[in-house]
């Protein structure tokens, strides 16, 4: 049946005969491992085509979508990490195989006449592949590819006369943008592969025309099928295994919020191994607003990168144009060296030239790698920057797991409280407030905010208030005197009790109450307290943590502080309804000098002649409500002014100081939200339906 089918097919198409003619060729001298290069190259290219087409089904060439789509391929799609890994490392393998093929060809003298055109087509293929690699870097729109492309296209721009035009053609304008990406994409997936297929085809036609070059010295012959084919297949399986192994290595960033692998089936663990860092590298999305200090091409371009370091001023052109063109020309004329009776000389010269070029390129690549990974200071800087980029990449993919806004992947990190929020905190708050051990102002003028409004933070605040000289005591003199007074009173009560022979409980009770209050405030309480008599009585008997906490709060704090419209007094401490939650912070940042917060303290503070920084208000001055808030601010000031006694001798001075203290610093809604979430340890990115306005 099969035979009859083959006969029929062959009779109609000649396909079987063609296939036999290809496979059943004799190889004089026997099958050799050194003949595998060309065919391995073909299969490796085919692998690039297959994986490339697969990637194309998931890729989206747009400035705002490219990174997201590549992220999605590698981290969310089944085996996307493997497909992209094979393509990523396969492209590098292509370079290795091409160079290997080239060296073997020259070693065998196969580039000599009459095979000049075969050689030139091979060189052309090498050039096309090098260009294809370059166009491929940009496509994920991550930091590395983007900056490598900038440098690459600028190098192209240095070519005399046509350079600027070439650059404009490639970049699609003078700025990098949508058209750069679509052009690179078209070159990478259509134009260059099409050209490459044509060149490979012509190359093969010529190989067929002139016949292969063999070492005829060895005795005996072998047939291509299966003797040489087995070697080819083994070699390719080896190559494939290397590529698969490289892809499985953890080059990517680890998703912090990936499900624990133990909870997954073997299939999911393997199909989504990208989430655990397996797969090719993917850095954070391009953000031209951030500096990127480690622009490097892929390793096979490092020779040019390194050469450019040595060539300054007018010699730069030598590096950008001279070296590539010179090398190309040298390789181009290689067959002519062995013309006619100079064949033997040409062969030897060719081998020497190729080995010399290889040695030079290897040395330059090694030097470039040494500069980045050796034990030098600049290498240390490089490694630090690289580490920073890795961190950003990890953060970016972790955030992307929850979805990417339509504005693009770069927006993720711009809206990340943990990284961007920290930077903004450092910028706007870090000159007064500290945050942990990393953000430390030179002269702290306000409390540290790590763990703000947590139970521990509040307990520590109480501890600090016991010390008369502490920063906190100076900032909140009334609160500090209350703390010390209460402690003193409890101590005396205990001493009295001991003298009377009764159990001393006052100090312990005070500490217990404070602990209870701190725990209660750390929950950011907002629940209203019933005012009606019957409900109030029921509430007083309630033994929920909230009710117990509130009772302690009522006993100790409510004479100064307000809560839910209750309490307060002459001292008028800040309102503690929802203390330390997002809404409290939002309103507080909007007007810290409001009566509800530290306004009355400000009035007393302004009596202090010592110059001290007062917490400014942070508001969005571009908001449509800005004018409204301006009026609100005026009203607040007038209110505060009324608190200063009319007959005070230094009234004018105090009013001036107060006006100066009530500064307003412009801060956008987004930035404020980022800072708030950073302080509260809320890691959700600020976008998408989340409230920004107070």
């Amino acid at each position: 049946m099969w035979r009859r089918f083959c006969d029929w097919l062959d009779a109609r198409t000649g396909l079987v005969a063609f296939w036999r003619a290809l496979l059943l060729v004799d190889i004089p001298g026997g099958a050799k491992w050194r003949y595998v290069w060309g065919r391995c190259l073909l299969v490796a290219f085919a692998l690039q085509v297959v994986t490339g087409v697969l990637l194309m089904t998931g890729y989206s060439p747009g400035v705002t979508t490219a990174w997201g789509s590549v992220y999605f391929i590698q981290y969310e799609m089944d085996f996307g990490w493997l497909i992209r890994g094979l393509h990523h490392f396969g492209s590098q393998m292509l370079i290795v195989l091409l160079v290997g093929h080239l060296v073997v060809v020259v070693w065998l003298g196969a580039h000599l006449p009459p095979r000049e055109f075969t050689w030139w087509l091979g060189l052309l293929a090498l050039g096309i592949v090098m260009f294809m690699e370059m166009t491929g870097w940009l496509l994920p729109m991550d930091q590395k590819g983007y900056w490598a492309t900038r440098v690459g296209t600028n190098i192209m721009g240095t070519v005399p006369v046509i350079g600027p035009w070439l650059q404009m053609l490639l970049v699609g304008g003078t700025e990098y943008g949508q058209h750069t990406l679509t052009r690179f994409f078209t070159l990478h997936v259509a134009v260059l592969p099409g050209l490459l297929v044509l060149v490979i085809f012509l190359h093969l036609v010529l190989v067929h025309r002139h016949g292969p070059t063999y070492f005829r010295a060895a005795p005996g012959t072998a047939r291509f099928w299966p003797d040489q084919a087995a070697r080819d297949a083994l070699a390719f399986v080896g190559i494939f295994a290397i590529l698969a192994w490289l892809s499985y290595q953890r080059h990517g960033a680890v998703l912090e919020n990936a499900p624990p692998p133990e909870s997954l089936s073997w299939y999911d663990r393997l199909a989504h191994a990208g989430q655990y860092g397996h797969g090719p590298p993917l850095l954070a999305p391009v953000d031209p607003q951030r500096e990127y200090n480690i622009a490097r091409p892929e390793w096979y371009y490092l020779f040019l990168f390194q050469a450019l370091k040595y060539l300054e001023g007018p010699y730069a052109l030598l590096g950008t144009v001279g070296i590539p063109v010179g090398t190309g020309l040298l390789l181009f004329v290689l067959p002519f060296l062995g013309w006619g009776r100079y064949r033997r000389f040409g062969h030897i010269a060719g081998v020497v030239i190729i080995l010399a070029l290889l040695a030079a390129a290897t040395t330059l690549i090694a030097l470039a790698l040494w500069a980045d990974y050796g034990p030098t200071e600049s290498a240390e800087r490089f490694r630090q920057e690289w580490h920073k980029e890795q961190e950003r990449a990890r953060r970016a993919v972790t955030l992307a797991h929850g979805g990417i806004p339509a504005e693009g992947g770069a927006e993720l990190l711009r809206r990340d409280p943990r990284t961007r929020g920290r930077e903004l905190f450092q910028l706007h708050c870090g000159s007064c407030h500290s945050f942990g051990s990393e953000i430390r102002p030179e002269r702290p003028a306000a409390p540290g905010l790590q763990g703000f409004a947590s139970s521990d933070w509040l307990r520590q605040l109480f501890e600090k208030l016991r010390d008369e000289k502490s920063l906190e005591s100076q900032l909140m003199p009334q609160m500090a005197s209350y703390v010390r007074r209460e402690l003193d009173r409890a101590r005396r009560a205990d001493a009295r009790a001991q003298a009377d022979g009764k159990p001393a409980t006052a100090q312990a009770e005070l500490q217990r109450d404070w602990q209870q209050i701190a725990d209660w405030l750390a929950t950011h309480p907002r629940r209203a307290i019933p005012t009606e008599e019957a409900q109030r009585q029921a509430f007083d008997k309630e033994d929920s943590p909230f009710a117990q906490g509130y009772r302690a709060f009522e006993k100790r704090c409510l004479s100064c502080h307000t809560y839910s419209g209750m309490g307060g007094g002459d001292v008028n401490g800040p309102d503690l309804t929802g203390y330390g939650d997002g809404d409290w912070l939002r309103a507080f940042l909007h007007a810290p000098f409001d009566r509800q917060y530290y306004g009355p303290t400000l009035v007393r503070w302004s009596r202090n002649p010592k110059e001290r920084v007062w917490m400014p208000a942070f508001r969005n001055s571009e908001d449509i409500n800005a004018a409204l808030w301006q009026r609100d601010w005026q009203r607040t000031l007038e209110e505060l002014e009324r608190l200063v006694p009319e007959d005070a001798s230094d009234r004018d001075k105090r009013l001036a100081a107060m006006r100066q203290a009530c500064r307003v610093v412009p801060l956008s809604e987004l930035e404020r939200e980022l800072i708030i979430r950073f302080v509260l340890g809320d890691d959700r990115p600020v976008f998408g339906g989340e409230p920004i306005h107070p």
Partner: protein, 216 residues
Amino acid sequence: MSEHPAADSALPQAESACEREGRRRFLRWLVHGLNTLVGVVLGFPAICYLLNGRHRRYQPRDFHRVARLSDILQNGKVSRNTGKRVYEVAVRDVRRDAWTVYPNEVLGRVWLVFDPKLPLQPDNPGSALKAFTSICPHLGCSISYHPGRDQFLCPCHTGTFDLQGRRVSGPPPRPMDWLEVRLVPDPTSPEHAPDYFIEVKYQTFWPEKAQRIPKT
């Protein structure tokens, strides 16, 4: 052969040919085996990769607030024969499309048909207030309202439906797809004229089926 270059010449010809044939058979199977191996190692992930859309199933949606009852009465088109009000609304929700999240995206449009003559039961508004998706059950075109004829019309293949959603003419295999609808009192409305929020549970259904089968 390169491993044993002397083998061919040293051994007798017949034995050598036999041995060579045996080895070639082995090599043939080796090549086929290796090809299959690469095919499977590449092919299996490739197929899974292409079929990954199975992870992105249709997301069931909860009830969404689409309008107030007063909106229909004020702005709905009035049917000449029956006095019913026909009003079109859009359903918005977070939508996730592969990697992109749209926080407030239109999921689809819904036709609301309200009969003011029938008594309104806020707990069970089904008889007076009906909701239909604007997706034609035939091949998924968009259904519009034809006020002159008091009919819903799918302009693609001219399927028509009456205001109850029943098929009148054309190729659609089933009535218009109705959606669950409920009323929630609007606390801000005055007591003498209570208003309601209309909430619709949005869903899409497979086209070209005689039954209304939700997409999953």
